[in-house]
């Protein structure tokens, strides 16, 4: 591999790893904020138990996001000096505003959110949660504004040296694809968060422990999923039609469409062959793509061949990533609808197969986000600033050896990080929330954790670890 490919591999790996944590922490931050609000306004202990539980998991994901994010803010200079030189007048301020309005806000209030309960009032704690979750949202807003400018640049002109100068800030920040990409990503975070909450709660329901808290959380998560899953699909459709307008080549790669066609078919599955410039083994549904892309029977859609092969992205990568994303979206929608059907029949908390299903959906949101970003980033190639600056011209004057060294270390370090996170977060998640609220009467015999001190510690999968079960159970014994 040459220096460009190595730099791309490194950036793809580090940013792909990073995006997992903001995805989780944006969703969980708002869920914790909601719980803090409910605890403050209703005073029901179940909300406090859930809030404390989910704040701990949020803290872990937030920390992972911070440390993997610092890497990116420097990598853009170390590995992509040509890019930095060309676009810093435009993107520099957006990165700076992200730090100023988002990172500082999160950092300033995260201490109070995590450690402040008891030191500050419930209202102040809620405010701190709100500031942290707003910070997470502001961060997403700025970084997606920057990314959208790379996809659909506007408001700036390049001089003879290839350096961009901003002529209109409003246009540079609010580019054509920005609102769609932002809405799609934020909704993805909320949806992913909902299914993480649902999955963890389902585990406890399945184990018949922490019933009061887990039912509340499971119910909340399934309501959220029911709203968010169809919303996300609608937003995705809008985003796709925006891409058709602004980045037709990317859209053609997503659809596997080589020739400009009137009334194009939807290619369900195929092998897009870049050498032959056509699809092999294609399964097509006539006119369907025309219907959802142009909302007409015979709309015209541009094909990949409108540009020379050297200006096409890696078509199979974009094509399959897109199908994975859509498939996951549909699977999550189906799960949410099934949840509603069970709820209407009064079986939401009791259908054991559905609890297993909910656990299985937990990682799907993350895979969907990774697939979606692969579509949008790989689909932009060979451009780093669409139509203006090629990725190959954007790298830094660093040696392939130095990039390889750091890539190998990143790979090793991030795997250690992931394993540690899965270990510690998994342990916390399996241990579950405290049980300070009274269990519902009709199922008291089923609730293992409410059977007393010894049962609580012996059935808890994480009974080795120390502190939190004991005070919680004592508290419950007093209640």
């Amino acid at each position: 591999m040459d220096a460009v490919e190595l730099a791309r591999a490194q950036f793809a790996f580090t940013i792909g790893f990073h995006i997992l944590w903001p995805t989780l922490s944006i969703g969980l931050a708002w869920f914790c904020t909601l719980l803090s609000l409910l605890w403050w306004r209703t005073g029901r202990p179940v909300y406090r138990d859930l809030m404390r539980f989910w704040i701990r998991l949020f803290a872990l994901s937030f920390g992972m996001g911070v440390i993997t994010g610092i890497v990116l803010s420097y990598e853009i200079g170390t590995n992509w000096a040509g890019f930095s030189r060309s676009v810093s007048n435009v993107l520099g301020p957006m990165f700076m505003y992200e730090t100023l309005t988002a990172f500082f806000l999160e950092a300033g209030f995260i201490g109070i959110m995590l450690f402040g309960e008891g030191r500050v009032s419930k209202g102040t704690h809620f405010f701190a949660c709100l500031m942290v979750s707003s910070g997470a949202l502001f961060s997403a807003t700025w970084i997606i504004a920057a990314n959208s400018w790379m996809q659909t640049p506007a408001g700036a002109v390049a001089d003879a040296d290839g350096i961009f100068h901003v002529v209109d800030w409003w246009q540079a920040v609010f580019t054509a694809s920005f609102p769609y990409r932002l809405a799609h990503m934020v909704c993805a975070s909320f949806l992913t968060g909902s299914f993480v909450v649902a999955g963890v709660s389902a585990f406890h329901l399945w184990r018949r422990q922490h019933l009061a808290a887990s039912r509340t959380a499971f119910s909340m998560a399934m309501w959220l999923a029911l709203v968010l899953a169809p919303t996300q699909i609608a937003l995705g459709d809008l985003h796709g039609r925006n891409t058709l307008e602004n980045q037709p080549v990317k859209l053609a790669a997503m659809e596997g469409l080589w020739d400009t066609t009137k009334g194009p078919a939807m290619t369900v599955i195929a092998w897009p062959d870049m050498a032959e410039q056509k699809n092999l083994y294609a399964l097509d549904i006539p006119h369907l793509a025309s219907l959802y892309l142009t909302h007409s029977w015979d709309g015209e859609v541009e094909g990949l061949k409108t540009v020379p092969p050297s200006d096409q992205p890696n078509v199979p990568l974009v094509f399959f990533a897109f199908r994975i994303m859509v498939g996951i979206g549909l699977a999550l929608l189906a799960t949410a609808v099934t949840g509603l059907a069970l709820r209407l029949r009064g079986r939401l908390f009791y259908a054991r197969w559905f609890q297993l299903l909910a656990m299985a959906t937990t990682p799907l949101g993350f895979l969907g986000v990774l697939a979606g970003w692969t579509v949008t980033e790989a689909g932009r190639q060979p451009w780093i600033v669409y139509g203006h600056l090629r990725t190959a011209d954007a790298v830094a004057p660093v040696t392939a050896g130095a990039v390889t060294t750091s890539l190998i270390i990143f790979f090793a370090v991030y795997n250690v990080l992931l394993l540690s996170f899965v270990w510690f977060a998994g342990r916390l998640a399996l241990k579950g929330p405290a049980d300070s609220s009274v269990p519902s009467r009709e199922h008291v015999g089923l609730d293992r954790t409410n059977a007393g001190l010894s049962a609580a510690s012996s059935t808890s999968p994480a009974s080795l670890s120390s502190s939190s079960t004991a005070p919680a159970t004592l508290e419950q014994a007093g209640a």
Partner: protein, 349 residues
């Protein structure tokens, strides 16, 4: 706004602001890197618990100033960003790896049971490595980086210099001193005694390395020597080293006596004076001896866009960061749980 931003004094204002952000970073993260550097030197595990607890609520905000420095650099002086970052590729990458290990140690140490020592080592080694890397970058900056056709033109190891190594060791001493000062202020009992004892060693290391770095850069970098020793500069600048000496003596005399915040606050002053010295040596360059603050500044319209936010938001940021320190004021109390776990263990109404 655009006309205002074309004024030649504007890059000066942004340079001052960048220097301010770097200073805040060095002073704020200095205290928690310092606690990390001293971590394994503490004799007992409960002292380490207390040391970590003393910085838990604030380290994230402190480290955010590092991101602020990076993003402010790309926004205001892009040449500094795209020349200096590739020039210091390896030390920056290793600093980031070190900060990663240090950061996760905060999260995982108190939840770990059997392998807690692994996180102790990760936290201390991460702090030490990050500090050494910062020193190497600092020394390389004073020495200057090779540049051709507007881009960095050296190799992956051209960052390395003896001066950088000296700066690294000096920073280890300096951060350890700030960290010890912080612990004297925020802890009691045996942890405080430990901090007072180790502060002496840190102070000696800091003083010796400051002298060595000044001397060595004057000997090996002629531009720096010319800046300091030409008349009338020599007389005008003499107060800087003299004041540094006076503060160092004041710290030495106050470690066991005097008010508890004294060592901490005076050690911050040492760093502030060191930064003044650095500005004197490097002025007016963004990339030393190649790109000045006027040549390296971003477009006027970009600076104008940044200025609005900085004037409005930066004071608010400083205010609520101060508030966060205020909420967690006073002596640190050991808590039962770890990062996040505290929320479970803490008393509540």
């Amino acid at each position: 706004m655009l006309e205002l931003m074309q004024n030649p004094h504007v890059p000066l204002a942004f340079a001052a602001l960048a220097a301010f952000c770097v200073s805040v970073y060095v002073l704020a993260d200095g205290l928690d890197l310092g606690v990390g550097i001293l971590f394994l030197a503490a004799p007992r595990d409960d002292q380490r618990d207390l040391m970590m607890a003393s910085i838990e609520p604030v380290w994230d905000a402190n480290e955010t100033w590092l991101v602020m420095g990076g993003t402010l650099l790309i926004a205001t002086f892009p040449a500094g960003y795209y020349v200096l970052l590739p020039a210091f590729y390896l030390p920056i990458m290793f600093m980031l790896f070190a900060l990663i290990f240090r950061g996760i140690a905060f999260e995982f140490r108190l939840q770990a049971t059997r392998f807690r020592f692994v996180w102790d080592i990760a936290f201390a080694a991460g702090s030490i490595l990050a500090t050494l890397c910062q020193g190497l970058i600092l020394g390389g900056l004073i020495g200057g980086v090779p540049m051709q056709d507007g881009m960095f033109s050296g190799g992956p190891f051209s960052f390395f210099s003896l001066l950088g190594l000296m700066c690294g060791i000096g920073l280890l001493g300096g951060y350890a001193l700030i960290g010890a000062g912080w612990l004297i202020w925020k802890t009691v009992g045996s942890t405080q005694v430990f901090a007072r004892e180790i502060a002496h060693a840190a102070l000696i290391l800091t003083a010796v390395m400051m002298a060595l770095v000044s001397l060595w850069s004057a000997l090996t970098v002629p531009e720096v020597a010319a800046r300091w020793f030409a008349l009338p500069n020599l007389l005008l600048l003499a107060p800087v080293p003299l004041a540094t000496l006076a503060v160092l003596v004041a710290i030495w005399r106050g470690i066991w006596e005097g008010a508890e915040p004294r060592t901490f606050l005076l050690s911050l002053m040492v760093f502030a004076l060191g930064l003044v010295g650095l500005v004197v040596s490097l002025w007016p360059y963004v990339v030393p001896r190649h790109v000045t603050v006027w040549d390296g500044a971003a477009d006027p319209q970009t600076l104008g866009f940044i200025a609005i936010g900085l004037v409005v938001i930066l004071p608010i940021v400083l205010a609520y960061q101060a508030h966060a320190y205020w909420v967690f004021r006073g002596k640190v109390e050991p808590h039962a749980g770890g990062y996040g776990e505290a929320a479970m263990g803490s008393p509540h109404p």
